[in-house]
């Protein structure tokens, strides 16, 4: 074959500019949250002289490693408010970004396997309804009707005792979401600078005035950290601490199969969550590895544990083959809720702690974080998620709704 037969290279979705000497704001991290933040800074606050600095390639972190579950059925008012706002944004974003990133509202089921699970789930359904979040409690028979391949028999270690169900929840194609935001950011004038690692900060007293990178020093009035698993490393460079522990979180996909799985099924108790991607792969997530790690890989026994649970719940998966497994580094907090707000350093802001479940929050994280950066004050949705809550004790404990799963 000669080069004559090769198709034209498709248009690039964004430029690859060199960094300018100075910006009005710099966002560290080119994952979903960094991109969404830059988008809303430009769109809602008219800040277009801004840059996203990404040490690797766009969305090469957790953004394109997650299992893409989107839902808003969290327990507490503060969480329901921000995640439900995110879900409403997901519903309009394909049109707004002019990009069909395959947001599929196929529903999400959270299985209950113990009496404790059942009580927690029924309580959460009630709380969700009061907060205007669509939620239902399903008995095992209804679970089976919605997802016929699920085993609801008593012959397994933890039989299915019911499930919460959120019909508006679902999945989207994560890399396309990143590209959709990136294209719009670029159109609005945002510089997306890849292969640009932040290595330190320039401060004037307690105020940040610039970032040091492997491509030179860049002056800036404001810095927004969106570095997910590396948030602590950046905070340390800036001279403050975060209550974050970074852990590997793993996922895997099977080979392509005919469509067999109509919804998304999650089980905190037996540590597995499963959906079927549009192409046909079964996408499954595991729990976090117990140890702190930055290696973007975890231990195999975690995958084994997850597969054992998957095969019990879905006997037809027994003959499916694993195609590949991978890990990302997630930034966990002790109350399983994110941190979005100001920092002890003037003009530096932080968005982190979304841990195992921040893909679904991407649009709301971007919207509220942009507001915080532009105005210096939190948006009402992210106000409860300030760093100060660890001192005041006003924690937002979402372990029931978030724990292992997403």
């Amino acid at each position: 074959m000669t080069t004559e037969h090769l198709p034209e290279h498709p248009d690039f979705l964004w430029r690859n500019p060199d960094p300018k000497k100075s910006y009005d704001a710099v966002i560290v991290g080119g994952g979903g949250h960094g991109l969404a933040t830059a988008y809303y800074l430009a769109k809602n606050h008219g800040m277009t002289n801004i840059a996203i600095l990404e040490k690797g390639w766009l969305a090469g972190g957790n953004m394109a490693r997650n299992t893409t579950i989107i839902r808003s059925n969290y327990l507490w008012d503060e969480s329901a408010a921000i995640y439900e706002h995110a879900l409403k944004l997901w519903e309009i974003l394909p049109e707004e970004l002019e990009y069909d990133f395959l947001f599929s509202q196929r529903g999400v089921m959270n299985l209950a396997h113990t009496l404790g699970d059942v009580r927690e789930s029924v309580r959460r359904v009630g709380a969700n309804k009061l907060n205007g979040v669509d939620a239902e409690w399903l008995d095992p028979q209804q679970v089976k009707e919605l997802c016929p391949i699920l085993n609801i028999n008593d012959n397994i270690r933890y039989p299915v005792m019911g499930a919460t169900y959120q019909p508006r929840a679902g999945i989207a194609k994560h890399d396309h979401v990143a590209w959709a935001f990136a294209r719009k950011c670029d159109e609005l004038g945002v510089d997306i600078i890849q292969n640009c690692e932040v290595t330190g900060f320039v401060k004037d007293g307690n105020k940040v005035v610039g970032v040091k990178t492997n491509r030179g020093t860049i002056n800036t009035e404001k810095v927004g950290l969106c570095a997910a698993g590396h948030s602590s490393v950046l905070a340390e460079m800036a001279g403050f601490r975060l209550p974050i522990q970074s852990h590997p979180l793993q996922a895997l996909v099977s080979e392509l199969h005919e469509p067999v799985h109509p919804t998304v099924v999650m089980s905190n108790h037996v540590h597995v969550y499963v959906s079927q991607a549009h192409k046909g792969e079964l996408v499954m997530g595991a729990g976090v590895d117990s140890y702190n790690g930055y290696g973007q890989r975890g231990s195999f026994h975690v995958i084994e544990h997850q597969m054992a649970a998957a095969v019990e719940l879905f006997p037809i998966f027994a003959r499916a083959h694993v195609l590949r497994t991978w890990g990302g580094i997630v930034d966990t907090t002790l109350d399983a809720s994110p941190i979005v707000g100001t920092t002890p350093v003037e003009n530096m802001f932080v968005n982190c702690g979304w841990g195992t479940g921040g893909f679904k929050g991407t649009p709301a994280a971007g919207l509220t974080f942009a507001h915080t950066i532009a105005t210096g004050e939190p948006h009402k949705l992210n106000k409860p998620f300030a760093l100060e809550r660890f001192e005041t004790g006003a924690l937002i404990d979402e372990h029931g709704a978030a724990a292992v799963a997403h």
């Binding site: 590396h230 602590s232 490393v233 601490r241 975060l242 209550p243 974050i244 522990q245 970074s246 117990s290 140890y291 702190n292 790690g293 930055y294 290696g295 231990s299 195999f300 026994h301 002790l334 660890f390 001192e391 005041t392």
Partner: protein, 114 residues
Amino acid sequence: MLLIPCPNCGPRDETEFHYGGQAHVAYPENPAELTDREWAEYLFYRDNTKGAFAERWLHSTGCRQWFNMLRDTVTYDIQAVYPMGQPRPDKENTATGTTAPTVTTPVSPEGAIK
């Protein structure tokens, strides 16, 4: 899966152990006198080092003893194990976690510490 050299039992699979997080965090001497900030630091703030990290492990299905381990959080390479209460073997002052470790309790290639 990590192969962890228990100081009492020798190398064993990670599944026999329980992780205990950052080592060398002492209970405050006068908890009643701490400010909210200091109490928050004690309760919620732990180092999240990228590199050599001193951490606690419990051999829960073996000798059931706690011990400390120095492990690289990027390569997951285990550099030393040492008893609880002993200072970190790789540095005189335990302040930061960034210098390259000089291991005083070496781990043999098989991972056994005798």
